[in-house]
């Protein structure tokens, strides 16, 4: 009953997140690709930032969502929260892969290499592997309760990697550029900060929209499976 009400709520409000995300991303892409200036050191290739940074930020935001949903699930044991955690993990994996891919493409013209065992890159690759592990664990376990519990524990342990990803450029010597926005201030030109902010907020809204759709998808799959299973067992009787 609570799940049905929650799914109904998701269905009613998801479109607003989707519309807001599209508007911000359209303006962000336009300003990023057409009107913003090139960088003094990197030239035109800096435009990769407007897709790479939002991908990486959204991956970390998605993992944080997975972390909080996992804690909530272990506390309340609400199956719809487990659905949301599972949905967040799938989306986080997608954005992490996108962050690694766009970063690799950006690395070639700026560092002259597709990949290097830099602290930021390595910790981000660990995040990717943690998410693969989380989804594999869920696939291998048949019992729904065990799947949700062990998955939540793994997601909470894996959260240790998130601050390492974020502060790796401060803690160790890194090829990766340091934080553009920190307590020390903002070290990015205004005409570059605008598309970057629009894309980052747009991607966060897009993630929220995707989470709402995917949570519904997983819930409906489960519901259909359960209903079909029940109907089949009734036919057998």
């Amino acid at each position: 009953m609570l799940s049905t009400r929650f799914i109904g709520w998701l269905r009613r409000y998801e479109k607003w997140f989707g519309i807001a995300a599209v508007i911000l991303m359209v303006i962000g892409l336009y300003t990023g690709l057409v009107t913003s200036s090139a960088d003094y050191y990197q030239g035109e290739v800096v435009r990769i930032m407007y897709v790479h940074v939002p991908f990486a930020q959204t991956a970390m935001f998605a993992y944080s969502t997975l972390f909080f949903c996992s804690i909530w699930y272990l506390w309340k044991r609400d199956p719809i929260v487990d659905n949301a955690a599972h949905a967040a993990a799938g989306i986080a994996l997608f954005f992490t892969a996108g962050g690694l891919l766009t970063g690799s493409i950006w690395g070639k013209p700026t560092w002259n290499t597709w990949w290097t065992w830099d602290p930021r890159l390595t910790s981000f690759a660990i995040l990717f592997l943690t998410l693969v592990g989380y989804l594999m664990l869920r696939t291998f376990l048949d019992d729904k309760e065990k799947r949700a519990t062990f998955g939540a524990i793994l997601a909470i342990i894996g959260f240790i990697d998130l601050p390492i990803v974020h502060f790796s450029v401060e803690w160790w010597r890194s090829l990766h550029q340091p934080l553009s926005v920190s307590t020390r201030g903002v070290s990015i030109a205004a005409d570059m900060a605008l598309p970057l902010s629009l894309m980052s907020i747009g991607f966060t809204l897009l993630f929220t929209y995707m989470l709402m759709v995917r949570t519904q998808m997983l819930y409906l799959e489960y519901l259909l499976e359960a209903k079909q299973g029940r109907l089949m067992s009734e036919e057998r009787l």
């Binding site: 009953m1 049905t4 109904g8 269905r11 057409v34 290739v45 759709v213 209903k227």
Partner: protein, 183 residues
């Protein structure tokens, strides 16, 4: 006891009309919108970024606001001082053009470095007068970064939305939403 169908209708989780039709229409609009931005980006690339090789430049008699990409030949760079311009030879595709640049010294101006010079061309004297120096655009990397991330993202969301729409249809058709207390 109320059926799941009744609850579903109350909380509007069962869609009205054909959900797939709306989905395809929405995606057609979205793709058109992003297609327009792609075209604007492509237009800007042709207008402000695309550069030609010295070989292509030699076929033109003269022109202004031209962009030429090439490598600064080793030993050819003469640094300008006190009002004198920088002078160097730019090479590419087996052809060379002499360039002078009146402007501030910058990191980009190094021998054996590939750069883009922006300025006017005098075909008679085979001389290029640069007013600006830029880094190589690497637009192929930018294009690949956007295409390899945004196309899969769109495909991922489309598949997800389509699956949700199909699941609602299946639930309707399978009559999975019916009274819980069937006997």
């Amino acid at each position: 006891m109320r059926s799941v169908c009744e609850i579903g209708l109350k909380y509007r989780i069962l869609p009205e009309g054909d959900p797939l039709k709306g989905l395809y229409l929405r995606w057609a609009v979205l793709l058109s919108l992003f297609g327009v931005i792609g075209l604007l980006g492509w237009g800007r690339y042709n207008r402000e970024v695309r550069a030609q090789e010295p070989k292509a430049l030699l076929k033109i008699s003269s022109g202004s606001d031209l962009r030429v990409i090439g490598r600064i030949e080793g030993g050819s760079l003469v640094r300008g001082s006190e009002g004198k311009p920088f002078e160097f030879t730019l090479s590419g595709e087996g052809e060379q053009v002499s360039v002078n640049f009146m402007g501030e010294d910058q990191d980009t101006l190094r021998e054996l470095k590939t750069i883009v010079v922006i300025g006017s061309w005098d075909g008679e004297n085979r001389h290029f007068k640069a007013k600006e120096i830029a880094l190589i655009p690497n637009y192929d990397f930018i294009t690949w970064a956007y295409l390899t991330s945004l196309i899969p993202l769109a495909f991922f969301i489309f598949r997800m939305e389509r699956k949700v729409a199909l699941l609602y249809i299946m639930i309707k058709e399978e009559k999975a939403y019916q009274r819980e207390n069937l006997s």
